[in-house]
Symmetry: C2
Subunit: 203 residues, 2 copies
DNA sequence: CGGGAATCCGAATTGAATCCGAACAAACAG
DNA sequence: CTGTTTGTTCGGATTCAATTCGGATTCCCG
């Protein structure tokens, strides 16, 4: 049963372990990331690690929460500005921000993401999906003509998942055949044309 | 150094091991899939497993090849018919076929796919991506008006990755909020409107 | 048949994950 | 201050899965 850290010293320990988790993942990949490794990098002993984490997986879960929290911290302040933009600009802003976040710290979040399906198999992207679905709703509220669009949940699902996963996959690619700008422009065009097309169909 | 099976008996062993890999993955997930487990399910000893596979990961790679081969075997015969269809019908045909394939055998391929990022981090989808890119090219050849479209590689990248990953993610979802038909229709609309919009822009 | 190659086996080895009890540090009451 | 309680850290002991290895068994060709 893992303990919750009370004293600041312990909180520092927990934090160091999570940091070390990202470091080790970047350096050695999943296979090479052992508890001893993490503990060494964190400057504590394995025993200490198991004081606060029931098992190795929980360390990865904590890393996951860090990442999600940062994404939320990025998107939420942007939201008021985003909902007033043209759709193409919104997508551009969002995806560039997303890329920068993922590549921060030698791509620690990106690296983590490519293994996330293993560590957090169930719904690991759900909070982010909800965040973006909320952004979409806010956007529709600020652009009432969009309310005429048909199946908003399905549209949102496709745009969010298609967009997020395509960008993730793109950024993980060792030598991509297209540029990130092209990708972002293409995604923007795709969504913009789709919206126009659907609105035209309504008439 | 793994040996290549020569006698039919050995080929059966190799096959049983790969089959057992899928079974074990379905039953016990990644964590629960041990070499002993696979060997037991295959009705052979661990030692035999290591005769033909250098390590556990190679078993997963063999499973991967099985899956990719089946996808190719599904798409290639469909191609001549697909390239003559309306874009929406093509997408519908392709995605329903894809779903059926993934859900065959109690979803063994789907189950495998959700862990694939871990086992085959580098380029594990590349053959499928190439297959679909080729389909796209053939399609453009049969619909010459599409040749006026702008950045085909980027478009293809987005449609293929966005489509494949969205469907994969959707099928892995325990209780999806939208129906598969809606998803397929939405993807079809998205692509169709995009094509129309781009063609209109060219004028 | 007889012998060498191919196949199969499962106990032994190895190394990582996890547990645990003792040692050390902080907080705090009297 | 000082004894006690509670929180924290440590690293060796244990457990379990991956992989190895030497020998037993089966196949197949001459």
């Amino acid at each position: 049963m893992p303990r919750t850290p009370r004293q600041p010293r312990a909180k520092a320990t927990v934090n160091a372990i999570v940091e070390a988790g990202f470091l080790s993942l970047s350096e050695h990949g999943v296979q090479g990331t052992t508890t001893r490794h993490i503990a060494d990098l964190a400057g504590v002993s394995v025993g200490s690690l198991y004081e606060y984490f029931a098992n190795k997986e929980e360390v990865f879960e904590a890393m996951h929460h860090h990442m999600v929290a940062e994404v939320v911290a990025m998107v939420e302040p942007m939201t008021p500005a985003l909902v007033r933009m043209e759709i193409r600009d919104l997508i551009k802003e969002l995806l560039f921000g997303f890329r920068d976040l993922l590549e921060k710290n030698q791509g620690r979040y990106l690296r983590y993401m490519s293994y996330a399906a293993y560590f957090a198999p169930r719904n690991h992207m759900e909070p982010i999906q909800r965040l973006l679905m909320n952004l979409l709703l806010q956007y529709v509220i600020h652009h009432p003509q969009l309310a005429r669009l048909g199946n908003l949940p399905a549209m949102g699902y496709i745009m969010i998942n298609g967009g997020v996963f395509t960008v993730l996959r793109y950024l993980s690619e060792p030598n991509p055949t297209i540029g990130f700008e092209e990708l972002v422009k293409g995604l923007g065009d795709m969504v913009a044309h789709f919206v126009e097309g659907e609105l035209r169909k309504e008439d």
